[in-house]
């Protein structure tokens, strides 16, 4: 499959129809694996990295899930193409910085991507829309078991799977969910939630993982530790916490709706006004304003047909996605102008938000349990 198909078609997770998809954008699970007898990629000499790549890539391509996959060496991708894959969460930022000696294989539906010679020899990652941690865990577990029959993974009877970074040793697994929490941010409860989540050994990060800002009220919740717990236990714990966070966000929305409907309307209305009329917009501003439009759709201020175009804008207004259509790299100001233009065009068909329609029906009933 040529890169063109990946660039022009967004993956499954961007269609946003998984369970709890109003609040949970996507779920992700990744496994880190290394081959026995070779230095980790960051320490290996070039020749050794190439040996690993040569040994691993055909095995990955053979996986049934990778039939007609998109498989490419890192040096054959342009900077913008790599960045598009980062924005889609199909490769990590670290992997995008790699040149010769690394590769990535992505399945047709863009739900499974396997990076070769990232920080570890193999990084298997599955991503789907909504809250589907169990499903993607099974998918990646299957791919891992199939690879393990052909590749001898570095495994220690006590420490489990051995990884370049000691923070990943054991299961080598990081599971995460990306959640949209505008009401918790607006009602200033978000820090309490983050602290409570941190206390039980889970991490909360910004949109693009470690060390990134929380833009557009989007947060990533993931497990912090990898040693001493079974994979299924980690997944179950994360699932439970995400369900609780969903409950808290739903509560916060209900309370805002009852007590501060004007604050809600003001945020959505201002967001709409700026997005429809701006002629220059940074990606940060776009994400923050689109977040309010997304909330506006959940609150029925906009008709449901607006949902997919808005979800698409979240990704299409990212810097590399903007530039993939143009032949050259755009300067920041040019990008801001183009971004505003794309948003205006898409929002032109939206009706104005109507205060009278403000209503929110809780998708799933049930009180959230208190976070420990």
């Amino acid at each position: 499959m040529p890169i063109h198909n990946i660039l022009t078609n967004t993956g499954e997770w961007l269609h946003g129809d998984g369970p709890h998809s109003q609040i949970v954008i996507s779920s992700r699970v990744r496994f880190a694996r290394n081959l026995r007898g070779y230095a980790f990629p960051g320490w290996a000499k070039r020749a050794e990295r190439l040996q690993v790549l040569e040994a691993v890539k055909p095995r990955v391509e053979e996986l049934p899930e990778m039939a007609d996959a998109y498989s490419v060496f890192s040096q054959d991708l342009s900077v913008i193409e790599k960045q598009v894959l980062v924005e889609r969460h199909l490769v990590s930022r670290e992997h995008a910085a790699k040149g010769a000696g690394s590769a990535v294989v992505i399945n047709r539906s863009q739900t499974l991507s396997i990076m070769i010679n990232e920080e570890d020899h193999l990084r298997l990652q599955a991503i789907r829309s909504g809250l589907q941690l169990q499903e993607i865990f099974q998918m990646i577990d299957q791919a891992d078991s199939a690879l393990e029959q052909k590749l001898d993974f570095a495994f220690h009877p006590e420490l489990g799977y051995l990884t370049a970074c000691p923070t990943n040793v054991g299961t080598g697994m990081r599971a995460s969910a990306m959640v949209h929490l505008p009401a918790l941010v607006m009602s200033e409860q978000i820090n309490q939630v983050i602290q409570a989540v941190n206390k039980i050994g889970l991490a909360v990060r910004g949109l693009y993982g470690e060390g990134t800002e929380a833009l557009g009220n989007l947060f990533q919740v993931s497990n912090q530790t990898t040693l001493g717990e079974k994979e299924e236990e980690i997944i179950a714990r994360l699932q439970k916490v995400i369900e609780q966070i969903i409950g808290h966000e739903q509560n916060a929305r209900q309370i805002l709706l009852q007590k501060k409907p004007n604050t809600l309307l003001d945020h959505v209305g201002r967001g709409y006004g700026i997005l429809v009329h701006a002629h220059s917009m940074s990606s940060k501003e776009a994400l923050n304003l689109l977040s309010f439009i997304k909330l506006g759709i959940d609150l029925q201020l906009f008709p449901e047909v607006c949902r997919q175009p808005v979800d698409q804008l979240f990704i299409e207004t990212q810097p590399a996605h903007l530039q993939k259509g143009s032949q050259r790299k755009l300067a920041a100001e040019e990008r801001d102008v183009l971004r505003a233009e794309i948003i205006r065009a898409k929002l032109a068909s939206f009706p104005k938000p109507e205060a009278g329609r403000l209503k929110w029906t809780r998708p799933e009933q049930g009180e959230p349990e208190a976070l420990e």
């Binding site: 290394n34 081959l35 026995r36 007898g37 070779y38 230095a39 980790f40 960051g42 320490w43 040994a55 920080e119 577990d141 891992d144 078991s145 393990e148 029959q149 052909k150 590749l151 001898d152 993974f153 570095a154 495994f155 220690h156 009877p157 006590e158 420490l159 489990g160 799977y161 051995l162 370049a164 970074c165 000691p166 923070t167 040793v169 054991g170 299961t171 697994m173 050994g201 530790t225 990898t226 040693l227 001493g228 717990e229 079974k230 994979e231 299924e232």
Partner: protein, 172 residues
Amino acid sequence: MNCDVCQQTSATVFLTQIVEGKMQKVNLCEACSKEKGVTNSTGFALADVLLGLGAAQEIERGGGVQKCPACGFSHADFKKTGRLGCARCYDTFAEGLSGLLKGMHKGTVHTGKQPVRAARAFEAQIQLKTLHRELRKAVAEENYESAARLRDQIRRLEVPVPGGAAGTAGVV
């Protein structure tokens, strides 16, 4: 206490460094510390930034071995990168790592998924141990018939799994 460099202003920055396995203490005043780039965050061990303060020192508690025999990775490399060189480094630096892992994770022993190959190898090892014990017993009892049988069983089990032995390539 005055600054070790200019000997004039009183020291406010106290730096402890481990150089070539020896601890060095330096006391500096604000101006001199800036000049020497001590307060510059890039001079900070990356291991500390990535894995938490103290990680760089923790790894050295293992003492003794400075370099991994398999890949040549050293304490200093870990301090610089916060990453390890190869799978064998986990054995080489086991002592220093154990404290680090304890502070970092929920437990100290992996309880999750195992590669089937590893599980099989582990079982074979246990079986070999049992057979060796039985062999010693049979020899002690001068039961040579069963000793010969046990010896043959051990030989069969000791044939290495292709590609499975430590230090060889990870591809089957």
